[in-house]
Amino acid sequence: MTAHATFAVFMTALVTATGVAYAAGVVRLGRRGRPWRWARTISFFLGLGLLLLGLWLPNIVHTHHDLRLHMVQHLLLGMFAPLPLVLGMPGLLLLRNLPRRGVGVVMGLLVSRPLRCLTHPVTAAVSDMGAMYLLYLTPLYLLSLHNGYVHAWVHLHFIVAGYLFTWAIAGPDPAPRRPSYALRLTVLFLAAGAHAVLGKLMYAYAWPRATGDALEDVRAAAQWMYYGGDLAELLLAILLFAQWRGRHALGRGSWAFSMGSRRSVANLR
């Protein structure tokens, strides 16, 4: 088995375990008479499905080492899958399943300095967009084609950084001390700008280089990145404003509050 396939199998196991844990959490809540919204469950599993599609895409289309394919994978893993995943609100599901003491521990962790720094929109944006500049404008991408470990790390980074960024900008999960809407909107503006500039730079200067891809293919990949990224960022902006409006309309409490999680969020806050 190739290193790529090993990684895909490992990730599939991880995705499956996450799905099982989520489903178990939903069932457990249901047994206690606290129903969980179906829309959230469907959304979360849609996200997991997009992850699997992204991971196995090279095997599905029987093409490897193609920059255009890699770009579609990048869009699926790092930009599109995180949207339905955060809408599934796995954080809230976890909190509702934890005993009161556990909730305190998780909230304590979330307000701790290291985690607050890690989940800050600026950190998330830099680690997400910065890694892409590093990957495509240096020989790192070439290295990832030849080294299975680097390849695995790149894909894992797409998933983790993409999720973190989406969550930090517009995640509906309850979180203590979320930065202001103005700050999150500014970060989204700069990150979307950085993504668009990277797409144009790749197109203009034919990055990444020496990969064996024809110039037209590199340019096609750069355009897919540009327009695909646009769509994902548009959806993220809609998500952010939908939260802002929900909060605005109520004039109190969080968006999660308006989404029908009255008791638990009131308790958490």
Binding site: L190, G193, A196, K200, Y203, A204, D230, L234, F241, A249
Partner: protein, 149 residues
């Protein structure tokens, strides 16, 4: 007090609609001229680096302007504080202002790309900026009417 807040709401109506005007004009530019007609290039080998940077940030701003505009607009409508005439004025001012900005700053000063390639540019530039100016004038006339009302 009530008069001051009413004035704030009319101003807000104009600004919110201006965001929609900017976003829609930018979307028309992207969809009609980039995608359908293929007149503009994604990149034309002549765009300087600063042009790419400004292009990326402007693009991101357009994207957010259109989403922000629609949400703020629907919020004002729901609260019944939207001043329709001011909103129309703002919409035309935003659309015309963007068109003119794109035609002069993006095309001519930053040279991000041109309206069309392989043709005499002058009539295209005149039509582009003329259209922007016309929209801007419509916006100004509407604003005058809105203020008089």
């Amino acid at each position: 007090m009530a008069a001051a807040s009413a004035e704030a709401e009319t101003k807000r109506s104009a600004w919110v609609a201006a965001l929609i005007g900017i976003g829609l004009m930018a979307a028309v530019d992207e969809i009609v001229f980039h995608q359908l007609l293929g007149w503009h290039h994604f990149y034309d080998q002549a765009t300087p680096a600063i042009g790419l940077l400004s292009d990326g940030l402007l693009h991101s701003a357009e994207l957010i302007a259109i989403v922000a505009g629609f949400f703020l607009f629907s919020d004002m409508r729901r609260r019944g504080t939207l001043a329709p005439l001011h909103a129309w004025a703002g919409f035309f001012l935003g659309a015309g202002g963007f068109q003119l900005f794109d035609g002069i700053v993006d095309h001519k000063i930053l040279r991000i790309h041109q309206v069309r390639y392989g043709v005499d540019l002058l009539p295209y530039d005149l039509a582009w900026n003329g259209a922007g100016l016309a929209l801007l004038i419509v916006g100004l006339l509407l604003l005058r009417r809105a203020r008089a009302a």
